[in-house]
């Protein structure tokens, strides 16, 4: 009898523990909602002050400005990702059109140069039928894009876009904007990014179509080509910083040198690896539209097509964030009073957007390498470049940083 009783006792205490912590959480939420949000974002104050007078909306506004939810929804979360995606897709189309003597997207929202065209495309995808081909493996076919989308969104939460503690000019100290802080964030982000490809191979394989098959094989080939370069270039620059903690990395860069000057070879290798990883030109090999329709994504339609189409752009966004963090001083920049706590995030965003714009510009400059040429290039000259970057980092680390 006794062991049974003890088990019941244990189970009860467990359940009550959960209930009590749940009540605590609810209490803290209610407590938070009843208090005033402490976000220091001056340009939002008029709106917040107005919404505070509306009965139910004010609770929602409070909830949104609760830090975990704010991070998840706005910066660095979903809304900023969405804005980045829409901007970069529009910008790529518009810039390529400009170079090629065309006009590009214009009809949707004419006054702002067709900026809302990606939204219009999104709505079209929404109302299009999502066809699952007979020969496809239904489960993987449907769930693959979601898995890949999650894998490509997750790294964003490991890349802080502001310092940990932020002291305003008037002396108050506020929390910076970041998703998850572990101290090994850069490594985790890189690990998640390199997982991404397995998802693409999965969806290509599940489609069970000849074009997706070829596209998948090409994706896998290119994956073997850039993965080592990407990881080694990150390792090379981390050797100089001596840490994978993003806050310390940016601090090092602000107090010493930007990473791009400290180790330009690693930057170059990272840039080319990013081009390969996000299948930008001249490495747009897996999705070569004049050869294999759309590579691994050929069979998709409807909203899931929209999802898989934006995935490479999302990856581009994540890798650009990483590049700014590792090589371009991160969020360092003069304080802008108007944006308050968002000021570092704005600087981070501007740098990231410039990097993304440069990356998509390659579409109008380059053609496409053959798969074997790209692979040969990555395993000969690029590998040599990244090893040179490693050696340079070691020299800097052993001869310059350690003696100091």
């Amino acid at each position: 009898m006794k062991p049974v009783l003890s088990i019941i006792n244990w189970a009860l205490s467990w359940v009550s523990g959960i209930i009590s912590s749940a009540i605590q959480l609810l209490y803290s939420i209610i407590n938070y909602i009843l208090s005033r949000p402490d976000d220091y974002i001056p340009f939002l104050w008029p709106i917040i002050n107005f919404l505070n007078h509306v009965p139910i909306i004010n609770i929602i506004v409070h909830l949104i400005f609760w830090r975990p939810i704010f991070d998840l929804l706005f910066v660095p979360g979903l809304v900023s990702v969405l804005i980045a995606l829409i901007f970069i897709i529009w910008f790529e189309r518009k810039l390529t059109a400009k170079v090629q003597w065309r006009i590009g997207p214009l009809e949707v929202s004419r006054p702002i140069g067709g900026f809302l065209q990606p939204f219009a495309d999104l709505f079209r995808y929404m109302f299009q039928e999502f066809v699952v081909p007979l020969q496809a493996d239904k489960n993987y076919f449907i769930h693959g894009p979601a898995i890949v989308f999650i894998l490509s969104t997750l790294p964003i939460f490991f890349i802080p876009i502001g310092p940990k503690q932020f002291t305003l000019p008037n002396g108050t100290t506020i929390e910076g904007i970041y998703g998850i802080y572990t101290g090994y964030d850069v490594l985790i982000a890189i690990a998640l990014i390199t997982l991404f490809n397995i998802g693409i191979i999965l969806i290509g394989w599940a489609s069970n179509d000849r074009f997706t098959y070829i596209g998948t094989v090409r994706e896998a080939l290119l994956y073997t080509g850039y993965e080592a370069i990407l990881i080694l270039s990150v390792v090379a620059i981390l050797l100089i910083y001596g840490t994978a903690d993003p806050f310390k990395i940016v601090n090092w860069q602000v107090t010493h040198l930007p990473g791009i000057i400290a180790n330009p070879l690693a930057f170059l290798a990272f840039l080319i690896a990013t081009l390969m990883a996000t299948s930008r030109f001249p490495f747009e090999i897996p999705e070569a539209d004049t050869e294999i329709v759309l590579g691994p994504y050929t069979e998709y339609s409807g909203i899931v097509y929209g999802l898989v189409m934006t995935m490479s752009y999302e990856k581009l966004y994540v890798l650009s964030l990483l590049m700014v963090l590792l090589f371009l001083d991160g969020w360092a920049g003069p304080y802008i009073p108007y944006f308050g706590a968002l000021s570092p995030a704005i600087w981070f965003g501007i740098k990231t957007y410039i990097v993304m714009m440069i990356m998509v510009f390659t579409r109008s400059v380059y053609g496409r390498y053959r798969p074997d040429q790209a692979l040969k290039m990555s395993w000969s000259s690029l590998l040599g470049l990244v090893i040179a970057a490693l050696v340079l980092s070691l020299i800097i680390d052993l001869l310059i940083i350690k003696p100091l």
Partner: protein
């Protein structure tokens, strides 16, 4: 496993017979070749006929596993039976027909046909008509080279090269509109001259066009022709040596890219080509990139010829005396400028006696051989 390696693959008593289709349908490879391939455990795979970008063709691949042992091209699907259709038509009717094989390069084909008829009927062509013909032929050559550049750019995934080449080609089509009234399939050259005279402002436009083209070709060169990716993709691909090129009977830019300095316009100058100063672009490598470069250089030479032709164009009638003599004298001054309303009088009745005439014309992709 205890078994010898020979015993692992048992000989199956299956007779390897050539499929019936080889006997029934026309297949451009000998029967022995098929049998030999079957006996040596290889596959013959027919790919196409399809349109991989440069005309419909079929490729017969001989495969050993994943390796391509042999690839036999089987072109000829764009043969339109022009010769048979031409048998029952008037000489003037054949003009629109003769230019169908290459829509973009119609000026050169019209020119070849007109010259053959002129030879038969013993017509002389006035100088102004010759100059206009040369301008059209060279414009047409540039347009077709640009067209090919665009298609090549698509193949190697260079969308800007495609857009620019087609954009430039459209400017030339605009010149065609102003000179002849149509964008493609001009039918403007007729036996004995051209259809109507070119106005001075149109000639001015053509001259400005050459300046514009030259400027834009410089940009094009920096973004596409000299692009490292383009060089990577095309260098040392599809190499044809000089001997092979001569043996297979290559013509045009392909021959010149293999190191043979041969151009019909220089070897047997027709029209007014002997009066212009220009060079034959030649390359020695014989690979895809040199074939491309030769054509890019040819665009430059064509621009040179057009400039000289526009500058030195003489002021004479545009129709041969023999053709004009078929028109009543009071209409002759009008017909010397524009023949459209008099075609029934001049060309419908144009029936040279039975005979043979052969002309060679340097068209864009090939020498147009008309017999």
């Amino acid at each position: 496993m205890g078994m010898g390696s020979n015993e692992r693959y048992a000989e199956l008593p299956v007779r390897m017979e050539v499929p019936e289709e080889f006997v029934k349908n026309f297949v451009p490879i000998p029967k022995e070749y098929v049998e030999e391939a079957y006996r040596s455990e290889e596959y013959l795979v027919f790919i196409g006929p399809q349109h991989p970008g440069s005309g419909h063709m079929r490729i017969i691949l001989r495969l050993k596993g994943d390796y391509i042992v042999d690839a036999i091209p089987d072109p000829g699907y764009v043969h339109r039976g022009v010769e048979k259709l031409a048998e029952t038509r008037l000489y003037i009717h054949i003009l629109p027909l003769i230019e169908r094989p290459t829509i973009q390069d119609s000026a050169n084909f019209d020119l070849g046909y007109s010259r053959a008829v002129e030879k038969l009927a013993d017509l002389d062509v006035p100088k102004r008509a010759q100059y206009i013909r040369v301008i059209l032929a060279e414009l047409s050559r540039i347009a077709t080279h640009l067209y090919d550049t665009g298609i090549l750019a698509v193949f190697i995934g260079h969308s800007t090269g495609y857009m620019w080449a087609f954009g430039l080609r459209d400017v030339i089509n605009e010149a065609f509109i102003r000179i002849t009234g149509t964008r493609t399939t001009l039918s403007y050259t007729v036996p004995g001259g051209v259809r109507w005279d070119v106005k001075p402002d149109v000639l001015n436009f053509v001259n400005e066009l050459t300046n514009y083209l030259e400027r834009k070709m410089k940009d094009m060169e920096s973004i596409f022709v000299k692009n490292p990716v383009t060089i990577h993709r095309l260098k040392e691909v599809g190499v044809l040596t000089k001997e092979e090129a001569i043996k297979y009977g290559l013509v045009g830019p392909f021959l010149r890219a293999s190191g043979v300095e041969y151009d019909v316009r220089k070897v047997e100058p027709y029209e007014a080509y002997s009066e212009f100063e220009w060079d034959i672009p030649v390359a020695d490598e014989g690979d895809s990139y040199s074939r491309f470069l030769v054509r890019v250089e040819e665009i430059r030479q064509s621009i040179k010829i057009i400039r000289q032709a526009v500058k030195n164009i003489p002021d004479t009638p545009i129709l041969s005396e023999k053709i004009l003599s078929r028109i009543p004298p009071k209409d002759r001054p009008q017909a010397a400028k524009d023949i459209r309303t008099f075609l029934t009088k001049t060309h419908v009745g144009l029936t040279p006696g039975a005979g043979e005439a052969t002309t060679l014309t340097e068209a864009q992709e090939d020498s147009c051989y008309l017999h």
